[in-house]
Symmetry: C2
Subunit: 257 residues, 2 copies
């Protein structure tokens, strides 16, 4: 049986891909992915004589099924997934499909290759907003009930987690983010810093620093990642920072804000 591997290619620039991801793609005979990501890794595929299977965005399940099929037929296959394949990516679906097959007809599990996720690339652009405990929540209610999402937002706000929001808004889902703002405002100041990064690490990357009171007025779309600071997060000269607590020790930083 050939090997099936799920590869996180990073947020959107080949520079942010790990060496392990690169090797897996180079060694595979079949590369499967959403066509936008296939285009992204295209410079790497050139001349390597691989079979490339790119499909549209809403066809995740078919795409992953095809990958499992290719590997079961005996060709080493990778499924590429943007960011970290293990965070809202393709890792789970592919592993579920593999395990759903009878053991004697199953490709070898090549594992998940972790990559830099959008939340990390966005945090880096904003400064250092994730230096303390944080919660990662997707606002897409396509596969999760809005009730569950809202409960998570509320409890995470109460717990004073930094909040990292994936899928904050799409053409169809425009109200979810306003509802999140309303909930978090019950627990945090109007002035709480909020960072919005759109297309992190990609061409045309945009960064906006705002506040909990105002951030919903900014452009937010399906390529945006929103980070809401905790009660200690501050902005200094354009950088968003969540202190880890060193200022309590002898760093001499306590007075500098």
């Amino acid at each position: 049986m050939a090997k099936l591997t799920v590869v996180g290619i990073g947020p959107g620039n080949l520079l942010d891909m790990t060496q392990r991801a690169r090797q897996a793609i180079e060694q595979a005979r079949v590369v499967v992915g959403y066509h936008t990501y296939i285009r992204l890794v295209e410079p790497m595929l050139d001349g390597l004589g691989k079979e490339i299977i790119g499909t549209g965005m809403m066809q995740e399940i078919d795409r992953c099924r095809m990958a499992v099929e290719k590997a079961a037929e005996g060709r080493d296959t990778v499924v590429i997934s943007s960011g970290d394949a293990g965070i809202y990516g393709m890792a789970g679906l592919v592993l579920e499909l593999v395990l759903a097959r009878p053991a004697e007809n199953r490709p070898e599990w090549g594992g998940v290759i972790a990559g830099v996720s959008a939340v990390q690339a966005s945090a880096a652009v904003l400064g250092a907003p994730l230096m303390h405990d944080f919660a990662v929540i997707s606002l897409s209610n396509l596969l999760t009930s809005w009730e569950t999402i809202e409960k998570r937002v509320r409890l995470a706000a109460e717990a004073d987690f930094v909040l990292a929001l994936y899928n904050p808004k799409s053409k169809r889902r425009t109200e979810n983010i306003a509802r999140v703002q309303e909930i978090v405002l019950r627990y945090r100041d109007l002035a709480t810093p909020v960072g919005i990064v759109t297309g992190a690490s990609r061409e045309g990357e945009q960064k906006v620093l705002s506040t909990l009171a105002d951030f919903t007025k900014e452009e937010i779309n399906m390529f945006s990642l929103v980070i809401i600071g905790n009660s200690q997060t501050y902005v200094k000269e354009g950088w968003m920072l969540t202190p880890r607590g060193y200022e309590k020790k002898d760093s001499g930083l306590g007075a500098s804000r």
Copy 2:
């Protein structure tokens, strides 16, 4: 002024480093880091004629101050940090130190280069446990009050987040993890899957799959990362999976568990 960059080198194997991180280290004239991580990147430094500054683990602040000083003196400098420098790493401290200096005597901020964090490498080893919303919490009460940590664990458990626990145990902190178990058990079943990965991506990497009832009996140390599943997480043939919800759609996976 020279440039100061904070570089996440990934969880502990050069294969997991991004190309961007590699380039930053290669281009720097001074490389500063905890000596264990300096040793890790040593194969990359050989023959490049850089100044290398490695210090012990408890000397973060001095180490980062030195890095800022070197850059202010006019030498391009990188601070290396394991995993993602922006997640419990050196990004925040270095940025705070830079911004604490008067503007005219400040190195250029080269930014944070994101890397694969321990939670991601651990998740990949376990299967796909982070496919749905998750909360990242450090159990170290060195810089955070235990009261705050406990509150976060409780609310994250109530919110049904997958929990990723950094610093679950050290020689001095042996009771925190048992307390976490007790709290999470108020909200989740005894059989909830718990994955423990020690030294993810490093030599001697260990993976243990256990349950919320039993996981504290396993070996957990300062190199371990603990992932507690949410109410939907399951284990199948040795792999830990949190479904994203595709089984509600037409994937044919609903009946396979």
